[in-house]
Subunit: 344 residues, 2 copies
DNA sequence: TTTAGCACTCTTTTTCTTCGAGTGCTAATC
DNA sequence: GATTAGCACTCGAAGAAAAAGAGTGCTAAA
């Protein structure tokens, strides 16, 4: 049995209605909706078919139908109309960036806030992964005997720092020399290759400090060390708006899940080579997101992918609105970051 | 009418019991508790007195009593016994810092997590306010024409950065010179005074760039700019454990309140010149924290106050446990940060 | 001064009933 | 053959009524 035009139309109507109401949709409600010229009885028959095909489910015998994950999948793949953001929404969006443009990360934090407030869902933004960035400057700043702060600045305008151990007899002047040498040698090299270059070229040169440099940069390549793996999450509380989380336990487990930042990071990282991703309910790997859908978008700066952000909401989220907003933010973010990094 | 010994004993018993059970405490329950040698009837009389004095309240006629904020105040001021953390708890605490010692801020983030997981309340940690730190290094890194990243490193091992505008004709070499000059002139000066020093001493010297420097450092002193005002908040979801938040609306409004990071920062900032603070229910300025208590502690590095962290919980939180944990963390944090900044 | 006894109050829990939305099936209709 | 009206049936939600229980304040006795 295939999905003919009428079945699709009905399925769509069920989903649209369920997204709005969050309660099982009956045949009568469907037959009342626009362009639906069949009687409830006919629609009942079709709905029974759709249930047999796995697109609809019935919480109990005498209730209406709710869409399955499979139905949402079909919906987002084939039934979604994209639309531009309205100009008032664009204005709203831009208002979040006022006074907030002191750096990449604060822009991204504001973005997360904007996303969650505009969509009323939970927003997640991945902080830039410096591994793909290029080194602009490395500075070792002595803190105390045996300790220094290592600061890395990349071409993307991102700075990351870590406290490191240094040999006790290392002087500030020597640290400065090392900083300068590394900066020179690795200038504009991808962060992911810096450690390698150092081991190969520089440590030999600076024999006496070879061991130190090795440690320094093996740690530099460990992502943990320089604060990679960070995500900003905002608006988790929004989920409490929706009846699917009126059960306290569900709410708790959702909040517990999203507090696991490293898991979220993994998820976002995986999505980061796609322009857009939509992951519906059980398609999510994470235990606690089985009742959620995650929509992500990747934005670009200078035509190369820079970072990823997204929305987490109940599976019955308003997909088309979410996608429109993400698309709007995607463009916006490109422009704003561009203007932050290039001259105005 | 004064609070005699027996009234105090009864009040204490009521509070202890209410902290445990979260439901109104009756006279019978009290008379059963240890060292309570009076009959329920006697205790009822005393409880009526305590209610008249404003220490207890009755949700409705036929219910037990619950402590008022005034009662908690008395409780924390006069009835609290402090105790050392057990050694197993200390071990647990330390386990949070493993692999997490790459920098001040990541240590503080781990601290927040540890606090919330150990106490089962919400933890908040104020990131160091660099205004009181001393400048160790300033570096201007060119990003693109007209743009640079300004990075500040302080003696506390904290780095902060911001994207800034620079005159178009400024060369990398010139930026380097400026960086070095500022670092030299302001070395070990408090960040709060750096802007002033620059305006006074340096801008005159570098006439042509005077305007730029002024802008640069007026912005440096704006806290916003360099990411001051940040707090880390963890474990907000823990509040859903407690019956006082089984009402969805209460839970929502709590989460909404703590998502206002700047408000939280203000609160913490205010607490930061006290070793410990306990703020109970209506004593809180913030609207959304009227049903909460906030306990904070300030930790020291090198004997000078460094930062503040705290616990937010329901007013009937287990104060003595919370205080013990905070005290434990306070010591711990001092040691860990010390070891991070000084040689091992 | 303390306490046993008791009537009273008010919430919580349970049980039972009613209501209504929605279904699936059958038979009539287009 | 496809569609639809009609109808008996199911099952959860909502409401009402009843019962249970915890705790009180007061009185009078110890």
């Amino acid at each position: 049995m295939e999905l003919d035009q009428r079945k699709l139309q009905i399925l769509r109507a069920v989903i649209d209605e369920y997204i709005l109401s969050a309660s099982p949709v009956g045949s009568k409600a469907i037959s009342r909706s626009a362009d639906m010229n069949w009687s409830p009885a006919t629609i009942r028959n079709e709905m029974a078919d759709l249930e047999a095909l796995g697109y609809l489910a019935q919480p109990h015998t005498s209730a209406g139908r709710i869409p399955s994950d499979k139905a949402y999948r079909l919906y987002v793949d084939q039934m979604l109309r994209r639309a531009e953001l309205s100009s008032s929404e664009k204005t709203l969006l831009n208002s979040y960036y006022r006074n907030r443009i002191s750096g990449i990360e604060s822009v991204l934090r504001s973005t997360a806030q904007a996303l969650s407030e505009i969509t009323h869902y939970t927003a997640v933004v991945m902080m830039p992964d410096i591994a793909v960035n290029r080194l602009r400057h490395l500075q070792l700043v002595p803190l105390a005997e045996g300790k220094a702060l290592s600061v890395i600045v990349t071409d993307a305008g991102v700075a990351r720092d870590a406290v490191i151990d240094i040999p006790r007899d290392m002087t500030p002047a020597e640290l400065e020399t090392i900083s300068r040498t590394i900066t020179q040698r690795c200038y504009n090299r991808r962060m992911s290759t810096v450690a390698e270059i150092l081991t190969r070229e520089i440590s030999a040169e600076m024999q006496s400090r070879g061991e130190f440099l090795k440690t320094l940069l093996s740690r530099a390549s460990e992502s943990e060390q320089y604060g990679t793996g960070m995500v900003e999450l905002t608006g988790a509380r929004n989920m409490l708006r929706y009846p699917e989380y009126s059960d306290m336990d569900k709410a708790k487990s959702f909040l517990a899940t999203v507090e696991q930042r490293d898991e979220l990071y993994r998820m976002m990282k995986k999505a980061s080579d796609m322009e857009f991703t939509i992951t519906i309910g059980s398609e999510n790997e994470q235990e606690g997101l089985q009742d959620c859908s995650v929509v992500t978008a990747t934005y670009r700066v200078n035509d190369s992918p820079f970072g990823t952000f997204g929305i987490i909401g109940p599976t019955r989220m308003d997909y088309s609105r979410v996608i429109n907003v993400l698309q709007g933010v995607q463009q916006n973010l490109g422009v704003i970051l561009q203007s932050l990094l290039k001259e105005d």
